[in-house]
Amino acid sequence: MNAIQFILAGMLAAATPFLLAALGELVVERAGVLNLGVEGLMALGAVIAFIIVYHGGGHLIGFVAAGICSALLSLVFAIIALVFRANQVAAGLAIGILGQGLSALFGKSYESLTVKGLPRLALPWFSELPIIGGLFTQDIVVWFSLAGTLAIWAIFTFTKTGLVIRAVGENPKAAHAIGYPVILVRTAAVAFGGMMAGFAGAYAAVVYTPLWADGMIAGRGWIAIALVVFGTWLTGRIFLGACLFGAVSLMGPAAQATGMDVPSQLLSSLPYLVTIIVLGIISADRRLLKLNGVASLGEPFER
């Protein structure tokens, strides 16, 4: 298998933690809230899922529990940032620190233990195609994430729910004036984002690299937040961005497999460097950000 085939086969799985967390953050930001605690929410989801799967609870229960726990932690953020109108940057950082701390605390006695991942399901016919065939052999969570991406795109494009979320994010005062419960809508969005971050963490810990190590999220929550900016708040572009980062994070192993002499630290920092560069390129187009951006992002709502 050459490097390209290797990357194509692994890209979607590697992209899934980014994708799930970024889709959650997309909904949160569309509602006008900036939750910077994604890294911590993912870390919490990861440890919860790992513990449950390790003790034989199964992947499904693991994912559900991870989603619930991260959603609950994100509700703490919602109460502090939305009800108490605290600075969203500070509240998000605090949730991030708390989530990572809880993750390390709970995961202490599971350090370096492993669990079994999930089998890959091949899509008939497609998976036998040359070169790109690997794209169509994926575990069930990847398939669900792809369906979820489509669903979120459809919600924002066709449904009234999507319309309400966008309205609350663009002009909360007006949304309030025509009778929408702004704080409630935002809280629900934050909880959804928390749940997705929990799933993302769970996937990273019990499917993608089913081995517990403290700090295993390794900045992926932050990259997910950056992905929302890369995607200029559009579902399709966020998906493409997640695939890009999936591919980038596989370049390390791919390069080593082909025997290239590159310091491993450079390969490890590749995702971060790519984030910085792409962030610079996309953000420089101020008009684009303004056009697709969320007008009230990060501002507390007060009637």
């Binding site: 966008r166 309205a167 025509i178």
Partner: protein, 507 residues
């Protein structure tokens, strides 16, 4: 009078220490156009929010067709048959017209689109259902708001200052629509502070002052003076006369300025030209959203031109297009922006620190450190000379009322002794007394030789202040019109773009 449609008894509402409404009684008859008259801060908007369920009263009862009524939310109000058109529109710019309507009215897109078109035809409210709201003019946005209300089949329609965004011609068109609606069985609550309009269209008027009802009359039976007395508690102040024009030196000159903003929601400007001379007031008329904020920022220096665009904006004879606000101020420019909180002043800072914002060159600093004694003296002077009602220089700017903060900012800018003063919306949200004090001060400064540029939505104000008036519409500016020789209708034609800029000059 038959049984009232809506009847309020003893409604009160306080925000902290501010008692916005006290013991309000109000009866709205079926099939009537009922005015709520009062100046800024009299409690009109609060009352409407209570009726529409956006806020809940602290005290009092309401009845709807004789039945007790309690409104916990706008959804409930709509369900009962109450609709509202807001003063600052509650529309979403990034959504289309039909999406905006979908947020309030149940139904599928296709069906809503059809109803929007029908209503538009029947009531003279034509608008493209698929247009994005940010691309609409202010008048069109108001139509969307009214259509959105009408689609809920209201029995009572509340309009908050609906004419403030319309040129005179469109005001008449709106009045036609309102009369048609009344004849169709809808009652209308018409909020305004413009006396003539109320006399023209309303058959009942309830007058508010300081949060209380001070009159309940048939406006057609009273002249404007009577109504004004009920509204402000005394006669309207008389304007002071201006000295004749003297043709002084050019302090601000803009020549053929074209500007395309970075912000996709902003209005591009094209071939803007204007001149303001010493001892002269130039007024810029037009409805907000036609390029006013873009033009202000270009004049103040908050937006700077690219280097390629030389020789477009001159102040005191110097090309200032690429200079930042601080550099323009050094040339003798001062500016009162239209938004006071967060731009003209920092709400969380004391008045003393807010003085420093623009007055720091008046030796309020020493070796880079703030000289508190001098800053306090400056602030105290400003508070005294401009009659700012406040606890003192340590009060936070955010704790002042709109009128008092405006007096402070106007005072601060005038105390800089500028050669060129630019005031945007001098009396927005300011009570009548403070507004007339500000206008008199501006005329006195003009007489003393200052060049003054005023942007305002209020035509009456511009006629009172200005020597020349130019109209801003769709990012273009009309030729200057000598105010004493011009009728409001002429300005109005420019405001709706019926007479494109330049056409009249060539005709």
């Amino acid at each position: 009078m038959s049984q009232p449609l809506l009847s309020l008894r003893g409604i009160s509402k306080s925000y902290g220490a501010i008692r916005a409404n006290q013991e309000i009684d109000l009866d709205v008859a079926p099939r009537s156009i009922h005015a709520i008259l009062g100046e800024n801060g009299a409690g009109k908007s609060t009352l409407m929010k209570l009726i529409y369920g956006v806020e809940q009263p602290d005290d009092g009862t309401a009845a709807w067709k004789g039945e007790p009524l309690s409104l916990a939310s706008p959804a409930e109000a709509r369900h009962r048959g109450i609709g509202m058109v807001f003063q600052h529109f509650s529309l979403f710019e990034t959504l289309t017209v039909v999406e905006n309507i979908q947020l309030v009215v149940p139904g599928r897109k296709a069906e809503l689109t059809k109803r929007i078109r029908t209503l538009g035809r029947d009531f003279g409210l034509e608008v493209d259902p698929f247009a994005h709201v940010h691309a609409l003019s202010v008048g069109e946005r108001q139509r969307v708001e009214i259509i959105r209300c009408l689609m809920t089949n209201p029995k009572l329609l509340i309009l908050d200052e609906p004419t403030s965004v319309l040129p005179p011609q469109l005001v008449n068109k709106l009045f036609d629509t309102l009369r048609r609606l009344r004849d169709g069985g809808v009652s209308i609550l018409f909020i305004s502070h413009k006396l003539e309009e109320i006399r023209a269209i309303c058959d009942r008027a309830t007058i508010l002052r300081g949060g209380r009802v001070t009159g309940n009359v048939d406006p057609r039976e009273h002249d404007a003076h009577d109504l004004a007395r009920m509204m402000i508690g005394r006669d309207m102040p008389e304007p002071i006369p201006a000295l004749p024009l003297s043709g002084g030196e050019r302090r601000l000159e803009i020549i053929g300025l074209d500007y395309t903003p970075d912000d996709p929601f902003a209005v591009p400007l094209s071939s803007i030209s204007l001149t303001v001379r010493a001892s002269e007031i130039l007024g810029i008329a037009g409805i907000s959203g036609n390029g006013q904020s873009e033009l202000s920022a270009l004049i103040s220096g908050e937006t700077v031109l690219k280097r390629e665009q030389a020789d477009r904006i001159f102040m005191m004879g110097r090309d200032v297009g690429t200079l930042d606000p601080a550099a323009r101020r050094e040339l003798g420019f001062a500016f009162v922006p239209e938004d006071r909180l967060g731009r003209g002043a920092v709400p969380e800072m004391s008045l003393l620190l807010n003085s420093l914002l623009t007055a720091h060159p008046l030796k309020l600093l020493k070796h880079g450190l703030i000289n508190r004694a001098r800053a306090a003296a400056f602030t105290n002077d400003c508070i005294r000379q401009y009659d700012v009602r406040t606890r003192g220089p340590d009060a936070e700017a955010g704790s002042l009322s709109g009128g008092n903060l405006q007096k402070f900012i106007v005072g601060r800018e005038i105390m800089l002794a500028p050669k060129l003063l630019f005031v945007a919306q001098p009396t927005w949200g300011v009570d009548v007394g403070a507004a007339s004090a500000i206008r008199q001060r501006l005329i006195a400064l003009r007489n003393a030789g200052m060049a003054i540029l005023v942007i305002s939505e209020e035509l009456e104000e511009l006629f009172e202040l200005s020597d020349f008036i130019q109209v801003l519409h769709h990012g273009t500016l009309s030729p200057p019109l000598l105010a004493v020789n011009t009728k409001p209708e002429e300005i109005g034609r420019y405001m709706i773009g019926a007479e494109p800029a330049g056409e009249k000059a060539s005709a």
